[in-house]
Amino acid sequence: MSKVISMRDAVAANVHDGDVVAIEGFTHLICFAAGHEIIRQRKHDLTLARLTPDLIYDQMVAAGTARKLVFSWLGNPGVGGLHAIRRRVEEPEGGAPAGASDPRPLELEEYSHFGMVGRYTAGASNLPFFPLRSYFETDLPKANPLIRPIRSPYGEETVYAVPPLKPDVTIVHAQRADAAGNTQMWGLLGCQKEAAFAAERVIVVVEELVEESVIRADPNRTVIPGLIVDAVVLEPWGAHPSYVQGAYDRDNRFYRDWDAISRDESSTAAWLDEWVYGVNGRAEYVEKLGRERLADLRPSGRAPSGSVDYGVYE
């Protein structure tokens, strides 16, 4: 049974006001297309979970969709800070754009990278906690009392625990999936698998929709089984300005541009007006980016994985 629907329908059906939303992908495969659609549908009171909020959550916070962030590294990688989020934290009263639906101070729940990975893993595994060797002698457990010590039942050792994170909806971008949602990705895998298995609902957004036979030819490449997928959206360039291994490069120019755009509330609002509210979806956004800019982001050549043989056993 096909789960392929439009981004608009996928977000309308699966993202609700007040939800815990995880758009995952560590530097790679960040689904900006879904984030923008969530903004367009004026969802609000969301708790946004991601290791690295990145530009996607800076934009979603600027647009007033979020009441809370759950995260581990709050920056514009290689460039600097996330200004819209910082405004909501450092000067909460003045931090929300006029007319935003949620002008309250942004709540922060902070972990380390491994803590966030452990949280998704516990969520995916239905464990009440995940243990890790981190946080010793730091101020993080004081800043976040959900980071708690746990004593080993073998000897005197104490490690730290983080609680499970179970998003209402996890959204992942991938190179390809079939209509049933069996999803394959390659390159940096982040913690999309854990975040997807931890979630109540899963939206998969892909560069390419493929026949089931393509997936079945390489079962070890499958990262997310259709079993846990609720919607499949075909959205080429859906990760821009993030990237898709083998398909297009990170648009570093935009990451730098955002630093200037986002320093000012009105230029941030103007950008949202033009590039999010002002387009009816990703296809229009892509058209607006222009052929030349897109062409510059294509890899300069192919780097084929090569094929392995699973063998026919009949």
Partner: protein, 263 residues
């Protein structure tokens, strides 16, 4: 070799497989080991449960085997599967994560409450018979949403008191079991059906096995002779519909052409 109830028509094993397959109607995701459960599950997919998805204990998901797999590690379940995953992922995310609707178990011993022993006969330290042990049976019984048991019945296997509890069933009764499962946050609701070569048992409100259906040609006396306690019997007691020609053809021609499991 069991005596078929109607020698010309079907064997006891065939009846057991058919009855187990029919119980899978409406189920979605089944965690499966090899042998009888594997045949039953594949029969169900070809008949009452075309949407059934199989999670093999070895890590294959969405298998489309080109032949009947001879073990859960047969390479034919990987070629053409939708996913092949590590044991960590299988047990953490699929099973413990709550994606498995039905866990299918066999056993050496079972008691009236569906508690299962697959570890030892006799004392643990000095066993009379050392059985394989849990494998995944312990966590399947706890985390699969419900548990199906398929096993031949005898005085040695259907016992008043199992020698070792490998997989928890309804413990000492339904009420205590439900409370413990709730308090300890188990996802599984415990044993749901036991299909044997003589009949089909479900569990009544007290958590005890109840014979709901007896296979054609089997007598209640035969059932009582092969069980270590006085079994509860549904009133009225149904008679399991005999295997259909289609079911038998599928077993004999497609699923077990060499009659490895259905003799």
């Amino acid at each position: 070799m069991s005596a078929p109830s109607d020698a010309a028509a079907f064997s006891k094993s065939e009846m057991m497989i058919v009855a187990a397959a029919r119980e899978l109607a409406g189920q979605r995701v089944c965690f499966v080991g090899v042998g009888l459960p594997n045949i039953a599950v594949n029969l169900a997919r070809l008949t009452v449960a075309p949407e059934l998805e199989l999670v093999y204990e070895s890590g294959a998901f969405g298998a489309k085997p080109a032949r009947l797999p001879l073990s859960i590690g047969d390479p034919t379940i990987v070629t053409g599967a939708t996913a092949a995953v590590s044991m960590f992922e299988l047990f953490s995310f699929y099973l413990q994560g709550g994606l498995v609707d039905v866990g299918f178990l066999g056993a050496a011993q079972i008691d009236r409450f569906g508690n299962i022993n697959s570890t030892v006969i006799g004392d643990y330290e000095h066993p009379k018979t050392r059985l394989p042990g849990s494998g995944g049976a312990c966590e399947i019984a706890i985390n699969a949403r419900r548990v199906f048991v398929i096993m031949r019945q005898s005085k040695r296997s259907f016992v008043d008191r199992i020698d070792f509890r490998t997989s928890p069933g309804n413990l000492g009764g339904a009420e205590a079991a439900a409370r413990i499962r709730r308090e300890e946050g188990w996802l599984g609701r415990g044993p749901s059906v036991v299909v044997t070569d003589l009949g089909i048992y479900h569990f009544d409100e007290s958590g005890e096995m109840r014979l709901d259906s007896i296979h054609p040609g089997v007598t209640l006396e035969q059932v009582r002779e092969t069980i270590g306690w006085e079994p509860r019997v549904a009133d009225p007691l149904a008679t399991t519909p005999a295997p259909t020609a289609k079911e038998l053809r599928l077993i004999r021609e497609e699923l077990d052409p060499e009659a490895a499991y259905t003799k």
